[in-house]
Amino acid sequence: MTLLATRGLGKSFGGLEAVRGVSLDVAEGEVRAIIGPNGAGKSTLVGMVAGRTRPSAGTIAFAGRDVTALPAWRRVRLGIAYTFQITSVFSGLTCRDNVALAAQHGDRRDRDERIAVALRRVGLADAVARTASALSYGHRRLLEVAMGLALAPRLLIMDEPTQGLAEGEIDGLCRLVRALRTETTVLLIEHNMAVVMALADRITVLDRGAVLAEGPPAAVRADAAVRAAYLGA
């Protein structure tokens, strides 16, 4: 079943067309990577899906419902979670309170349990009571992911999750994303090609705002146009 479908999605800033005519179909349970050179429009594209950027053209459907006009917070309630590229946690609150803000939408009875699970899955179980500002950069990124998980989303958008993580932390994150496959769909923007090739079911390549190629990792890797535009051949 298709979970996310965009049709002719476009965004222009002044005269510049950052994204144009993007039609995307992401199936439920899929891990979809979006790659492309800097300035290709990846962040603008997922920003429109999450509701952070208003599209200039096109429509977005989520689980069969047109969400193009919905504000961001309503889309979150429908199940679209977004983790920030530049870490955006509540630095004055504890890890527990950070995650609690994400987890308190649902049932009150198992809330503490859900908070604990989210923190454990990203490996921050020991840091429950610590203030977010006291965490290392990598741990703050993981806290950000834990907040996304605690929303129990149907679609999890991850904008450059491995940026600034150490080797070991990247491996942990990959294991986590693979484990998520059974419960949520993932839309992943990522520069680290090893991570993309290891995780993605399908890859969409953006170039200058438009879709250049799309397919399974092996096919994308073999695509001559992609190599020319991006993979640095």
Binding site: W73, V76, V89, F90, G92, L93, D97, L101, Q104
Partner: protein, 316 residues
């Protein structure tokens, strides 16, 4: 530590209750005034300290309560408890109406918009001079301040009644603040103060939560204004001037923004300072100005915030 912390509110309220048997006549009345104004400051703290909404117009909510209660008691012949409720409702409704418009802006624009709305309210009071008696104001008659509660006739002019009524209202505001701070909603409000964008991306509409905070804040300011009118028998336009929008900001900054007891501490300290100083010079406003500047430059966290910080540092 946690047990002591849990018992703190009860201890504070018990201490305030006991205080009335110790204080002399003059300080007794002053303490009742401090408690009512602290209720105003607690309301301000919900908007500013907890949610990060820096309003420069809270005098209009206080004045709404003041006039709402004053008119109902003096002109409408309503008993004090009902007048108190009417005043609170005026503050609440005005805050809701102002919030619906002003909360479309944020930051500096929000500060100026609230300042302008409050100024318009003040000018409106002056404009309807015949009804409000403008700057001069009016006194609420003795008879309008007497009421029966559970069969006992109480007189708001009686010092004991006044002190305990003020304490009860402060306890209500203080309790409301504590309950909110520990609730789901309170956590969202703090989240908005810290990082609005992230809160939105966690599925909350910041506008609605801000509107809730401002409305509750305005209702408490209205409650304080209504109590002030009924307990101290005077209603006047001075309470709607910009100065009365700056005072709660100063009290909260002084005591510690976003702390439960900061508003009481700040109000008390500032009240006593101004009171003692007015024996020496009439320009106590100089003190107000200097305090604002020194707080912003040197102690942005206020008394309780700074103490809390020290303690946290010593512990680690």
């Amino acid at each position: 530590m946690t047990a002591a912390r849990r018992a703190l509110p009860a201890l504070v309220l018990a201490g305030l209750f006991a205080l009335q048997f110790v204080l002399g006549d003059y300080d007794h009345t002053n303490m009742a005034r401090i408690l009512v104004l602290a209720c105003f400051a607690v309301g301000y703290n919900i908007a500013f300290g907890m949610t990060g909404l820096l309003s420069l117009g809270h005098a209009m909510f206080f004045a709404a309560g003041l006039y709402g209660a004053g008119f109902s008691a003096e002109l409408g012949g309503v008993a004090p408890p009902a007048a108190l409720a009417a005043g609170t409702a005026c503050g609440l409704v005005l805050a809701l109406a102002v919030g619906l418009v002003a909360l479309r802006t944020s930051g500096v624009a929000f500060m100026i918009v609230t300042l302008m709305f409050a100024q318009a309210c003040f000018l409106t009071i002056l404009h309807f001079n015949e009804l409000t008696r403008g700057d001069e104001g009016f006194v609420i008659a003795e008879t309008a301040r007497r009421f029966a509660l559970a069969g006992v006739v109480l007189d708001a002019a009686d010092p004991t009644v006044r002190y305990n009524a003020a304490l009860a209202l402060f306890a209500l505001a203080y309790g409301a603040y504590l309950a909110l701070a520990r609730s789901r909603v309170g956590r969202v409000l703090v989240g908005i103060r810290e990082n609005e964008d992230r809160v939105r991306m966690l599925g909350y509409d910041p506008y609605r939560y801000r509107l809730f905070a401002l409305t509750l804040s305005g209702a408490l300011a209205g409650l304080a204004g209504a109590a002030y009118a009924l307990l101290f028998a005077y209603v006047g336009a001075t309470f709607a001037t910009t100065q009365y929008s700056i005072y709660p900001l100063l009290w909260v900054l002084l005591g510690g923004a976003g702390t439960a007891l900061g508003p009481l501490v700040g109000t008390g300290v500032m009240f006593v300072l101004v009171d003692r100083l007015s024996g020496i010079t009439s320009s106590y406003l100089m003190l107000v100005g200097l305090a604002l500047i020194l707080l912003v430059v040197l102690f942005p966290k206020g008394i309780l915030g700074t103490v809390g910080q020290r303690r946290a540092r010593n512990r680690s």
